[in-house]
């Protein structure tokens, strides 16, 4: 029988070679009033891997991301980040875990009273207090350059387009060099060219940083471009998970219909 030491050693070894799941969602249920949103949801993502979560509107895709980052609590089941169950953690304990995570909101959720550069500097000011002002400014410029927004530092969020807001949101999500990246509909509401640019950006970041990423999207084309694995949700749980070929070979009626309509 494996001892706790053996398990810890195995986990450390797995983490070292990158095969251990960084995010594990295990049999999670979530309801809002009488409406059941997630119903025995399970999935996991490892380092360097991008999982795209697809499904119809209202199937709980965004709720899944909110549960993983602790903005909502599951009714039952567990969510583990680097093996640590996050249920029941205090706000400050959860904050320590969130420092390893980046979240891009569906509508970017930029702070509308701050300039773009202040938005990106916001987490740095609070969590990288050892940084001097010039170091922080350099870091902001570097992040903005990474997302192709170097010339717009002093604009307000209301003065830039939706695609640009997503880029700034992405720069802010990357500010603390997260190990886990959660993207909620990164290409929703964007024209095909902007969508393609955001996809390329995510792919580039993924190659450079080797984060564990979960992308919630409606856009099958975008999902195929950026993800290693795809998972389709129906009625609050994953009905199929695998690469695009696995999905194509599926006999599940919902999956066939979803792929046909996408």
């Amino acid at each position: 029988m494996a001892t706790a030491y053996d398990i810890a050693m195995r986990q450390a070894q797995d983490e070292q070679d990158g095969s251990a799941p960084v995010v594990t969602v295990d049999n999670v249920n979530k309801a809002f009033g009488s409406q059941k949103v997630l119903n025995g949801m399970s999935l996991s993502v490892s380092r360097g891997e991008t999982l795209a979560v697809l499904g119809r509107s209202g199937t709980g895709k965004s709720v899944l991301l909110r549960l993983i980052i602790g903005l909502d609590q599951p009714d039952s089941g567990s969510i583990r980040i680097h093996g640590q169950d996050i249920s029941g953690l205090t706000l400050d304990q959860m904050s320590e875990i969130r420092k390893k995570m980046g979240f891009l909101f569906q509508h970017a959720a930029l702070y509308d009273s701050l300039t773009i550069s202040e938005n990106v500097a916001f987490p740095l000011k609070r969590h990288r207090r050892e940084m001097s002002r010039s170091e922080r400014d350099d870091r902001v410029r570097q992040l903005m350059a990474e997302v192709g927004m170097e010339g717009n530092l002093d604009k307000m969020p209301s003065d830039i387009s939706g695609g640009m807001q997503k880029r700034v949101g992405l720069a802010r999500a990357l500010a603390l060099e997260p190990e886990i990246l959660l993207l909620d509909e990164p290409t929703a509401g964007l024209d095909p060219i902007s969508s393609g640019e955001i996809d390329d950006l995510i792919l580039k970041l993924q190659r450079e940083r080797q984060m564990a990423s979960i992308v919630v999207t409606h856009d099958l084309h975008s999902a195929r471009t950026i993800a290693n694995r795809l998972a389709i949700l129906d009625q609050g749980k994953v009905v199929i998970e695998g690469d695009y070929e696995d999905l194509q070979q599926s006999n599940i009626t919902f999956v066939k219909e979803f792929l046909k309509q996408s």
């Binding site: 909110r66 980052i69 903005l71 706000l91 400050d92 904050s95 320590e96 969130r98 420092k99 995570m101 979240f103 909101f105 569906q106 509508h107 959720a109 930029l110 702070y111 509308d112 916001f122 987490p123 609070r126 969590h127 207090r129 802010r172 603390l176």
Partner: protein, 285 residues
């Protein structure tokens, strides 16, 4: 009465009883909902307050945001409270003059204006003006941040929103209300004197001298400091209403309105309790 008449009357009575049977559970359900909603609101407010207290006393402290809020609550409310205080001073001077003249006690006019302004009118006017300006501002700002997921973004960035958003605003209100009250009092006394001296010239020095005659610091300090409680109420209620908002633009409007209405109401109600406490702890000679 004919047999048909009896049947009709019996049917009417039966229908009334049926309606009563339906109405009673409806009324009971409505009242139960109201009562449970009342306790739920206060329970949630209590939990919110506890979260804010915990966040406020633990580092890292949000000094920059706190200073910004001091400016937002203090400097920007200053002209408004001084003006409101001045108007109250003039009204008090005019109203009390006619009454005092009737009773042949014109000499007591300065003392009545000074005591009324400092003991009650200055603090309550400041509380209500700040409830309106700052309460609505905090409620609407936080509600707007809530519905656009900016508060979630703050939390997702590993920053405690109770510390960054609520504690800074509440503490700024607590600290600024007594200072604004002093400003409102000053405006009230100055304009009270102007209103009086226009009718019957009296020097400002004489007005103040007669007004404060025999008074000690304990007569004036507690009414001014009680406004810190008003500040706590305004900041707490407005932050709470803003941060629990739901429902888009309509929710933002509702949060702003509720912040002002509830903060003003609680300021007036708490004033009753605070005045009683002050009278018990610092009895009049």
């Amino acid at each position: 009465m004919s047999a048909t008449g009896f049947t009709a009357a019996a049917e009417i009575e039966q229908s009334r009883q049926g309606r009563r049977k339906k109405l009673l559970p409806f009324v009971a359900g409505y009242v139960t909902g109201l009562v449970s909603g009342f306790f739920e609101w206060f329970g949630s407010l209590g939990i919110f307050f506890w979260q804010v207290c915990k966040a406020a006393v633990t580092p890292p402290y949000e000094w920059r945001e706190f200073v910004r809020q001091l400016d937002e609550v203090g400097s920007k409310s200053f002209p408004l409270v001084v003006l409101a205080g001045a108007a109250v001073g003039v009204v008090l001077s005019m109203e009390t003059r006619s009454i005092m003249t009737q009773f042949g006690a014109k000499a007591l006019l300065p003392i009545s204006v000074v005591w009324a302004v400092i003991q009650e009118m200055g603090p309550i006017i400041t509380g209500l003006v700040v409830s309106g300006r700052v309460g609505a501002g905090i409620g609407a700002e936080l509600a707007s941040m809530k519905v656009t997921e900016q508060i979630d973004a703050i939390e997702a960035s590993a920053i405690n929103p109770y510390r960054y958003l609520a504690a800074t605003r509440i503490l700024a209100c607590v600290l600024m209300l007594p200072l604004l009250t002093v400003a409102a009092d000053a405006g009230g006394l100055l304009m009270g004197w102007v209103a009086q001296t226009l009718v019957e010239p009296i020097s400002f020095h004489q007005f103040i001298d007669r007004g404060f005659g025999g008074a000690t610091l304990k007569d004036f300090l507690p009414p001014t400091l009680k406004t810190a409680v008003f500040g706590l109420i305004i900041g707490l209620v407005a932050s709470f209403q803003g941060m629990r908002t739901r429902g888009g633009a309509e929710g933002v409007g509702r949060a702003a309105t509720n912040s002002v209405v509830l903060a003003s109401l609680f300021v007036i109600l708490s004033d009753v309790v605070l005045v009683k406490i002050i009278l018990v702890v610092f009895p009049n000679k």
